[in-house]
């Protein structure tokens, strides 16, 4: 099995000194030998007939399929786990995963100052009884097998929206950048179907990992499967951790104090702010129309600007997808997924926004007023679905109060500011109301948020204390930038506006800074979200 001479590195060598002696031949011979795999392979493979994988691990997997009301689950004997991480390596190798990809991970629980304690914790997908990943998926790319209960990911169905990553409280699904989709553990379902043990089960030197059949009724719906894990009521994970030595209740994950920045999801950052600005624009526009404060063109121009901004936001969100061409299926998950609902709502919002433009072109103010009202209604609905997309992940930083406050606050603030600009440039009288209203809202929204951060930072028991720490310790420059922006927008510019110096220009500048400030807020909305995960190290 010698390389053909074309690719033989020895022949491409330049024989600069023009040897007549046999030395280069010797080198070439050595190089050729090096490229020759002379191992008597056939001989080995024939003699090699070891005990098959199927026979070696029968004691670590169930003998029969689960019955009705049962499913498979991992069982981990912590006393046998010493943290060698062979399970992590084997998952990678035996499943042919990418470079650093593995569907198992190893973490560490540590004790307190008074009680030395160390326990390594191997963790993979918990194949939850109520999988949040599947419930969140807008395209139904998750399938919970009706017999085995294995939560399987359909790789070709996935659009790479990453919402399952946000939904899973155990940080299980991982985005695969090379492929633009998410991949995750399937409990080696094809192996189990053949009576073979999953890769991690095969690999553990101490047989710490088993597959067991669990009764769905018995899958815990409260408490945590191991200290530091998310409350089981959310997804009902089916992994069982066993130990003869009780885990000290104060044990915590070795990385519990680590402040970790999460993915920024920039397209979503921009999309959320722009769509909220758009929805709010329609809302204020509708208000002004019904109060009779605007004429056809004043309402029409604001509709146009709001429509363009909204459409830009919606279009940007597509950039966030790993597989945008498959996004047309995004309505499929509407029964359970707030992301599906958000996508449907924004679809409707865009159409009603377009209707406003038609009405404006038609030239009927009453028709336009109704179209704007419908657009505003659908816009608010869409913003509400946006709120729910994040609230539904159960992350403390994304609570209803915080997320709702931020999203509707932005809607009102930018929704007042944006028409304010349009009307100011059009020299419409209503601008005289919109501008001060925007400035008041600016102070209100920012002060409320700053107070919340302060509270969560000083209160260790606050559910989003960790997020507040990330904000103040990891992202202090962003908070500082926003404070400076507030000072400019809230004090300096209003002073200038008060002097009536080129109001449209100065107010536009003020709104631009406000927009930037809201984009920063939305950036750390994602990066400081601090999702829960299994213990790491």
């Amino acid at each position: 099995m010698i390389f053909d001479s074309a690719s033989d590195p020895a022949t491409s060598e330049s024989s600069s000194s023009g040897f007549a002696n046999p030395k280069p031949d010797l080198i070439q011979q050595a190089l050729r030998e090096q490229q020759t795999l002379q191992t008597p392979v056939a001989l080995f493979s024939e003699e090699y007939d070891s005990k098959a994988v199927r026979d070696r691990f029968t004691h670590l997997i169930p003998l029969s399929k689960p019955s009705l009301g049962e499913q498979y689950g991992f069982e981990v004997n912590l006393d046998a786990c010493t943290g060698c991480k062979a399970c992590v390596a084997a998952c990678h190798s035996l499943n042919g995963l990418d470079d650093d990809e593995s569907w198992r991970d190893m973490g560490l629980l540590v004790g307190t100052r008074l009680q030395p304690y160390q326990q390594t914790v191997t963790t993979a997908c918990h194949h939850c009884a109520e999988p949040a990943c599947a419930d969140g998926c807008p395209v139904l790319a998750y399938d919970k097998d009706p017999i085995t209960g294995i939560v399987r990911h359909l790789d070709d169905q996935c659009i790479g929206c990453s919402y399952c990553i946000l939904k899973c409280p155990y940080d299980v699904p991982k985005f695969n950048f090379k492929r633009g989709i998410v991949r995750k553990c399937d409990m080696c379902q094809s192996r189990l179907a053949d009576g073979e043990a999953p890769a991690c089960v095969q690999a553990c030197p101490n047989e710490a990992i088993k597959i067991q059949v669990v009764k769905l009724d018995a899958v815990p719906d409260r408490g945590e499967i191991i200290p530091g894990a998310f409350d089981s009521s959310y997804t009902r994970p089916t992994t069982t951790y066993l130990s003869a030595k009780p885990i000290p209740p104060e044990a915590k994950a070795a990385d519990a104090g680590v402040l970790r920045l999460e993915h920024a999801h920039l397209p979503l950052t921009v999309m959320l702010v722009l769509t909220q600005m758009s929805a709010g624009g329609f809302l204020i526009n509708a208000l002004a129309a019904w109060l009779g404060a605007v004429n056809l063109n004043e309402a029409g121009f604001v509709s146009l600007v709001a429509f363009v901004i909204g459409l830009a936001g919606i279009a940007l969100s597509v950039l966030h997808l790993g597989q945008p061409l498959k996004a047309w299926r995004a309505f499929l998950g509407w029964r359970k997924s707030w992301l599906s609902r958000e996508i449907i709502a924004f679809g409707l919002f865009a159409k009603l926004g377009a209707l406003c433009l038609v009405a404006w072109w038609w030239g009927d103010f009453s028709l336009l007023r109704w179209a704007i009202t419908l657009a505003a209604g659908s816009g608010l609905l869409a913003v509400f679905t946006s709120v729910m997309v994040y609230v539904d992940t159960q992350r403390p930083f994304w609570s209803m109060k915080l997320t709702g406050g931020k999203f509707f606050g932005t809607t009102l603030l930018l929704g007042t500011a944006m028409p304010g600009i349009v009307w100011a440039w059009m020299q419409a009288p209503v601008a005289q109301i919109a501008i001060p209203a925007a400035l008041i809202l600016r102070w209100l929204v920012s002060l409320l948020e700053m107070r919340e951060i302060q509270r969560a930072r000083s209160d260790q028991s606050s559910p989003w204390h960790l997020s507040a720490r990330i904000l103040t310790e990891k992202l202090p420059h962003l908070l500082k930038a926003r404070r400076i922006m507030l000072a400019i927008v809230g004090i300096v510019l209003p002073t200038i506006i008060f002097t009536q110096f080129h109001v449209p220009l100065i107010f536009s500048l003020s709104v631009a800074i406000t927009l930037a400030s809201q984009l920063i807020e939305r950036y750390y909305f994602f990066t400081a979200a601090s999702g829960s995960k299994m213990p790491g190290n």
């Binding site: 280069p24 190089l31 090096q34 795999l37 191992t39 990678h92 160390q118 991949r183 070795a254 047309w328």
Partner: protein
């Protein structure tokens, strides 16, 4: 990947799904990813640590595409640690050395070899044969080591050569030689399963030797597991008794335990009388190690000492003692190892199932290096000073006796010292990275930079040492060449060539062959054509030695039989007939390899470590292994994305909560760690797994050995990595 999606609502299959489809494969492997279905398999021995796990290599068209642990191999029984699982992926790194590099520029082999020989000759001619030395490794096959040692000393006339085994196993060698008469770890891995008491001293097998720990957990006898370690390691957590002694008070502790066993008559007097020398002197000596003193010096309570001794008494005759780097890397390491050996001897816990004073080896071929590298010992565990030995090796190898030096090499640290003093001008490094791993690293690098000629022969051109080299010779790695390793339990295992080396990299064996030719001494090595041919030469060298391997028919036998433990003589083969037992231990008959066949009690008064804590440097710095995914300087393991993911992302200094409070540190705070030699800045991890006044750093970060204090055991010349004084300043 951009392709119009199917017009169905749900795509259950498709190219992305197909990426992960598993299919039944042959060879008992079960399902494998479709693109990794093997068309044949072969067996190999892992090339990282001395456990010596068997791996089933999956082949496609003759080339390795994947691997799984070998279920049939008696060492690992179908499991491997992450390093073994990733053994192939580290071969694909982008920084593999693919061409010889002369002063950093690629050259052809002819130029490189001419330069190598010319330069070495020039230095030898100018400064004498002692001016050129080699420093080798425990990481290559022992046939290659033997070729290197023979070529350098017999062919090129070098006097001095040593290996990086000096950093890991020299102490065990020195201790066994003096106590047993030969460097002979007596155990077999079955002893892990057959002990009633397992005592681990300065060993953390959970992390360092996970597959050996697997054997401990397979022990069905509900054993007591004792761990002696200043830190609460993973192994200490899994133990039934943990003795967190003060760092380097191990020698005192072991003498204290001996004292208690003698006091309470818990000794095997018949065995002592029949099979040992020097016990009475030893008993007199340990009389001074009464519990009061030992308690005061080790920090253990007297009750703990009693429990320790009592556990040995109750467990006898199935008590096994295991030690590794915590013992080997100490300023009195040899005597400490012998203090362990003494305990086994005096209680008769040797030569029986579940017993032994057992040194767990470090590198995959440290044992091969110890016996066949031709550095400290003449090939096959012989003595350069002994004329009869030289004559015997001359006979066995066909090398004229006049070419065999009549004195052993200087030890590693002495070679470096000689380089510093100008006697050594050229060093040839093979498969080792001392610019990272050697103690008091800055000092080492200062000396390296003084040398006239530094040659590095390595798989990677990016190692810290290779960057300082005048000439880099690109070597094939594990899996790209064949030969044998000898593991901790004296088992010879064969590893085949299953990958093509990148570029013009050559097997170390081939490089030595070429150098022999270019040097003009190839006539001496006419028989040394292939690794297996060298194996046969070495078999002849081993004849009559405790490590005799003349009963092995050849590679085929090693491959088929699940490895072969030494010794295996022709007589033994005849006795065993067809079935050679897979697990054999030494000293079953109580006869040792000394002249009078009796084991020796060796001991010395404990001394304080050379670098003491002071007001200025109030903390003791301990070092050790970080995780099971990291191997030494990470030259190889750092190349695997999966292994990197499993290792801590940042260097962390473990510190006790009380010390952290005093310094006002919170978890994750930055800290400057300052020794008399260097300083580094890192993050703190507050944990009570270290004791007050002690801090711990894993050795894998290249900065750590800048801090360590260079002291050496006087008998083994092994560096003492485990005790340096440091100061901490919040950064």
């Amino acid at each position: 990947m951009i392709k119009l999606p199917a017009l169905t609502f749900r795509e259950w299959t498709g190219p992305l799904t197909a990426d992960l489809v598993r299919e039944p494969s042959k060879f008992g492997l079960g399902q494998m990813p479709s693109r990794l279905l093997p068309d044949a398999t072969t067996k190999a021995i892992c090339g990282f640590c001395s456990t010596g796990c068997g791996l089933t290599v999956h082949l496609k068209e003759g080339e390795a595409i994947n691997l799984t642990p070998d279920p049939e191999y008696p060492v690992n029984l179908g499991t491997a640690c992450p390093k073994g699982w990733e053994a192939l992926s580290v071969l694909d790194a982008s920084d593999r050395a693919t061409m010889p590099l002369l002063h950093g520029k690629p050259v052809d082999w002819d130029t490189a070899l001419r330069f190598f020989c010319d330069k070495m000759r020039e230095i030898q001619a100018k400064h004498g044969p002692e001016a050129a030395a080699f420093l080798s490794t425990g990481q290559i096959m022992f046939e290659e080591m033997a070729y290197l040692g023979a070529l350098a000393k017999f062919g090129m006339g070098m006097i001095h050569g040593d290996g990086n085994t000096r950093q890991c196993m020299a102490t065990a060698v020195a201790a066994y030689k003096e106590s047993f008469g030969f460097d002979s770890p007596p155990f077999t891995y079955e002893d892990f399963e057959q002990s009633d008491v397992l005592i681990f001293i300065g060993a953390n097998p959970c992390i360092a030797h996970p597959i050996m720990w697997q054997r401990v957990l397979k022990n069905k006898r509900n054993p007591e597991i004792i761990v002696v370690d200043p830190r609460s390691t993973e192994t200490a957590m899994a133990a039934t008794q943990h003795y967190a002694i003060r760092p380097k008070s191990d020698l005192t502790l072991l003498y204290g335990i001996a004292h208690l066993l003698i006091r309470d008559h818990s000794i095997d007097e018949a065995f002592i009388a029949e099979h040992t020398n020097g016990f009475n002197d030893f008993a007199d000596f340990v009389f001074d190690f009464a519990p009061e003193r030992v308690s005061a010096e080790t920090g253990l309570s007297q009750a703990q000492l009693m429990l320790f001794a009592d556990t040995i008494r109750k467990g006898t005759p199935r008590v096994s003692f295991w030690w590794t780097m915590g013992v080997n890397q100490g300023h009195q390491a040899t005597r400490t190892a012998q203090a362990i050996i003494n305990l086994a001897l005096m209680t008769g816990n040797i030569g029986k199932p579940g017993t032994g004073a057992n040194s767990i080896t470090g590198q995959c071929n440290a044992m091969g290096s110890r016996l066949f590298s031709n550095t400290t010992n003449l090939l096959g565990g012989h003595d350069f000073r002994n004329a009869m030995h030289r004559e015997k090796i001359s006979q066995a190898t066909g090398i004229p006796v006049g070419r065999i030096p009549d004195r052993p090499s200087l030890a590693y640290d002495q070679i470096i010292q000689a380089a510093d003093e100008g006697q050594v001008k050229a060093i040839w490094f093979v498969a080792t990275n001392p610019s990272h791993s050697w103690i008091d690293q800055n000092e080492m690098n200062r000396v390296l930079d003084k040398l006239d000629f530094v040659v590095v022969q390595d798989m990677y051109c990016s190692t810290e040492t290779a960057k300082r080299a005048h000439l880099v010779l690109p070597a094939a790695g594990w899996g790209e060449k064949e030969g044998c390793f000898i593991n901790s339990e004296r088992r010879l295992g064969y590893s085949p060539k299953v990958r093509r080396a990148p570029g013009q990299a050559l097997a170390d064996f081939q490089i030595f062959k070429l150098i022999a030719h270019y040097w003009g001494c190839e006539d001496l090595f006419q028989e040394w054509t292939t690794p297996e041919a060298v194996f046969r030469v070495l078999q002849r060298c081993s004849e009559g030695q405790p490590c005799e391997i003349t009963g092995i028919e050849g590679y085929e036998m090693i491959r088929k039989s699940g490895g072969v433990q030494w010794p295996l003589t022709k007589v033994q083969v005849a006795d065993f007939q067809s079935q050679i037992p897979q697990h054999r231990r030494l000293f079953v008959d109580g006869r040792f390899f000394t002249a009078d066949q009796r084991a020796n009690f060796c001991f010395v008064e404990p001394e304080a470590p050379p670098e003491q804590r002071s007001d200025e440097y109030p903390f003791i710095l301990l070092t050790g292994r970080g995780s099971s995914a990291q191997w030494h300087t990470e030259t190889r393991t750092g190349k695997s994305a999966v292994l990197s993911k499993m290792s801590p992302q940042e260097l962390m200094l473990d510190i006790h909560p009380a010390d952290a409070d005093k310094l006002g540190l919170v978890d994750g705070a930055a800290i400057r760690v300052i020794s008399r030699r260097a300083e580094l800045t890192t993050m703190v991890r507050i944990t009570n797994c270290v004791s007050e006044g002690q801090v711990y750093l894993p050795m894998h970060d290249s900065r750590v050995n800048q801090l360590t204090h260079a002291s050496f055991d006087p008998h083994s010349r092994q560096p003492s990595y485990k005790y340096s004084a440091v100061r901490l300043i919040p950064a």
